[in-house]
């Protein structure tokens, strides 16, 4: 059953990603990108990594997709304009894809059969974050707080 689910989700994700890359209207592309992210989250669910999947939905659909959509809305005057096919983009995408494939194929871990690992529960992630990775977590927290304060300063009303 899980292999059937894998194929269905894979087709769904790839179709959405293809739509995101090829659709004429920028807004449609951004929305299909969000759909592709839902597909990715579904993969994480299928692999038993609930937390990662939920975090993906939370951050990418709830925040990043909305951010992208608003950026398009507020910066482009001619959202509907046809810009023709972007060959440079294809080149860059192919280069990134090639680089990633090359580095993945070079790793040793592909030939090793994955050992049977315990399901990644929220509890284990929490314990890891609060013990071994507490400093990185705190640093990220400080960085995000700084970003929040920076955003507040940017929008602050200037006194005249």
């Amino acid at each position: 059953m899980s292999s059937a689910a894998f194929v269905i989700i894979a087709i769904f994700t790839l179709a959405a990603a293809l739509a995101a890359a090829t659709l004429q209207k920028l807004m449609h592309a951004a929305l299909s990108f969000a759909v592709a992210l839902v597909g990715l989250a579904a993969f994480f669910f299928l692999l038993g990594a609930e937390f990662v999947g939920l975090a993906l939905v939370f951050i990418y659909i709830g925040a990043v997709a909305v951010l992208i959509v608003f950026t398009i809305l507020l910066t482009r005057r001619d959202v509907g304009k046809n810009r023709g096919f972007n060959w440079a983009g294809v080149l860059i995408a192919l280069a990134v894809f090639g680089g990633l494939t090359w580095s993945i194929l070079k790793t040793q871990s592909l030939s090793i059969l994955a050992p049977h690992i315990r399901a990644l529960t929220v509890k284990r992630i929490g314990e890891a974050l609060m013990t071994g990775y507490v400093w990185p977590l705190q640093c990220v927290g400080v960085l995000l707080t700084a970003a929040l304060i920076g955003a507040l300063i940017l929008v602050m009303e200037e006194k005249r």
Partner: protein
């Protein structure tokens, strides 16, 4: 404890599934999920129909008039008449609208609302979709609401729709923060993101009388109030229904929708309200547990829906009582008052936990909350009660 009545729905489902005893495992699995989904839809769409007529009745009672009383006994068949009316109305799509996105927006909104309903425990062993990170699922899926509202506003290609969507998204983003942070103390105290565990943690009674619901602790009470207000904003209800305004921006992001699409928006709003209230019941009001040990004979789902109805009544009551707020007032209170108070709940819960969860912890956490509340009241008091109004225009 009357086990058979309490578990009647579970047993009915098992009985239905026993018909499929010989079939492969995945058939049974899929059927079980489908039964859950249909039950969820059946119960909550009925509740939606019921609440929509009850709301009009209660509002009418508050305004000293009759309300709907023509269709059926006491006007109870009004939702059926409304539904038929909505279905046979012409579905108008603006010529310059983005047809596909315009169509998908209400669908996505309703789907999100229904999905969030899935993780709430409605009774003993009655969680339709019991996953480890249930609370996280609720907020993760719920965060797609903003995208749906944006789609509705953008695809309509209308300035009122776009402005309404902007307002809706601004208020949803601002209040999502207090909404999530007020959940954190409960998650921290229970040590689990699973709604069933949170309900189980509120099962016992202090001194055999007072139920151990989190709303009876100082931090829980404060968090409950904050959560309820944020939930009110998230579901765009009066007094926070700023995205809609007949005199300013027509119906906000729903301006260009008519017929059944408009009804779908309406339905999604109510389902979202049920979901937030259901989560409030689960987190702070003890879920499906009875308030008194003697009353545990009453089935668990009855208690859940009684608490849910009580919260829904407060929603309607507020709508009948309060005027609407201005958007800048809303944003001010979100960032200057609600957010610090939400963090205070977090700290007070930690204090409560480390001072032994007893009477001492109770008093210490009360102390923390009172201190911060009074400090915030002094700081935020502008002492400008009746200043001349300053008009500000967009520059």
């Amino acid at each position: 404890m009357s086990k058979p009545i309490d578990q009647v729905f579970i047993n009915a489902k098992q009985w239905l599934l026993s018909w499929l005893a010989g079939s492969p495992a995945w058939v049974i699995q899929v059927t079980s999920i489908l039964i859950n989904i249909f039950m969820l839809l059946g119960v909550f769409l009925t509740l939606f129909a019921l609440i929509s007529v009850l709301e009009r009745k209660i509002l009418a009672r508050m305004q000293n008039r009759y309300g709907p009383n023509r269709v059926g006994p006491f006007g109870l068949f009004q939702p059926i008449a409304d539904g038929i009316k909505m279905l046979i109305k012409e579905d108008i799509v603006p010529a310059r609208a983005d047809k596909l996105v315009h169509f998908l927006a209400p669908v996505l909104l309703a789907a999100v609302a229904i999905l969030t309903l899935g993780v709430i425990p409605y009774g003993r062993n009655m969680t339709p979709f019991a996953i480890d990170g249930g609370i996280l699922f609720f907020f993760a899926v719920g965060s797609a609401t903003e995208l749906a509202v944006f789609m509705a506003g953008w695809a309509s290609n209308n300035k009122f729709s776009m402005l309404g969507a902007m307002r809706a998204i601004a208020q949803m983003f601002s209040y999502e923060l207090p909404l999530i942070i007020t959940v954190l103390p409960v998650v921290m105290v229970v040590g689990s993101l699973m709604p069933d565990r949170i309900v189980a943690a509120q099962a016992e009674y202090t001194f055999g009388i007072v139920p151990r619901w989190f709303v009876f602790t100082p931090w829980g009470f404060t968090a409950f109030i904050l959560f309820f207000v944020s939930g009110l904003v998230e579901s765009n209800r009066t007094p926070f229904d700023v995205p809609e305004g007949e005199s300013e921006i027509v119906a906000g992001h729903m301006t260009e929708y008519s017929g059944f699409k408009y009804a779908t928006f309406f339905m999604a709003e109510y389902l979202g309200m049920f979901a937030v209230s259901g989560l409030a019941v689960t987190l702070f009001l003890g879920g499906w547990h009875a308030p008194v040990r003697l009353l545990e004979i009453v089935p668990s789902y009855v208690w859940f829906f009684l608490k849910l109805s009580a919260l829904l009544f407060v929603y309607i009551w507020l709508r009948g009582t309060l005027p609407r707020t201005r958007i800048d007032q809303m944003m001010n209170i979100a960032w200057k008052f609600m957010l610090p108070m939400a963090f205070t709940c977090f700290i007070a819960a930690a204090v409560w936990h480390y001072t032994g969860r007893g009477l001492r912890g109770w008093l210490w956490s009360l102390f923390v909350i009172v201190i911060v509340y009074s400090a915030l009241s002094i700081v935020l008091d502008t002492r400008r009660k009746f200043a001349p109004r300053v008009y500000r225009f967009a520059e």
